[in-house]
């Protein structure tokens, strides 16, 4: 699975993109986020305020409940500020 991070999540985690094997027992984006949070201090800092993190699965806005599978592209990012 491809996992992408943008803006301050990317900075805190130290990378914008990584490829992961979907960890066992994880079926939705919220569970993936909770699992990522335990990967290290940068991840913990990035995900400490989970309410501030937006989720997209396969380039479509989702939520913690959105299902994720092996070949999905999952992105985590702050609220958008374009325009």
């Amino acid at each position: 699975m491809k996992v992408l991070y943008f803006a301050w999540l990317r900075q805190r985690i130290g990378t914008g993109e990584e490829t992961l094997d979907l960890p066992e027992g994880i079926s939705n984006a919220g569970e993936l986020m909770d699992w990522l949070k335990s990967k290290g201090p940068g991840y913990e800092q990035a995900f400490q305020n989970a309410d501030a993190v937006k989720i997209a699965v396969n380039q479509t806005f989702g939520s913690r409940e959105t299902p994720v599978a092996t070949n999905d592209e999952v992105a985590f990012f702050p609220p958008v500020t374009g325009g």
């Binding site: 992408l4 943008f6 803006a7 301050w8 990317r10 997209a56 380039q59 479509t60 806005f61 992105a75 990012f77 702050p78 609220p79 958008v80 500020t81 374009g82 325009g83």
Partner: protein, 150 residues
Amino acid sequence: MSVSVQAEDFDVGVELAAMTDGKVSIGGVCSFVGLVRDMNDGSGVGAMTLEHYPGMTERMLEEIEAEAHRRWPLEASRIIHRHGRLEPGDRIVLVATASPHRLAAFEACHFLIDWLKTKAPFWKAEELAEGGTRWVDARQGDDEAAAKWQ
């Protein structure tokens, strides 16, 4: 219907002319151009860098544009959003709409910029006059502006 996400600047006159070229049913064109301000939340801003999510950005802009065409009788539309480093006074975004009568063009243009601001995956990092950078926070007012078009 046309969407571009690009680092380069754009010429509003050229874009509007291209959008309406040959379409004689158009009676009115409305455009919104967003510029980089030199102040935000009380701090001087030197420049900013716009990050985006390649792929999803284009997809969201195309969805928003298609939604505008479903809601209003538009003859043409154009969205350009820049990314990369921009300085105060630089153009960031163009939203333009064309329809037989002005009301649809005005409303659709307003809708497009309101929805773009809350749905297109862009993030602004400001360079502060006192040094360092700051990620711009999303504004509640933008969410409220977008919600009124639900």
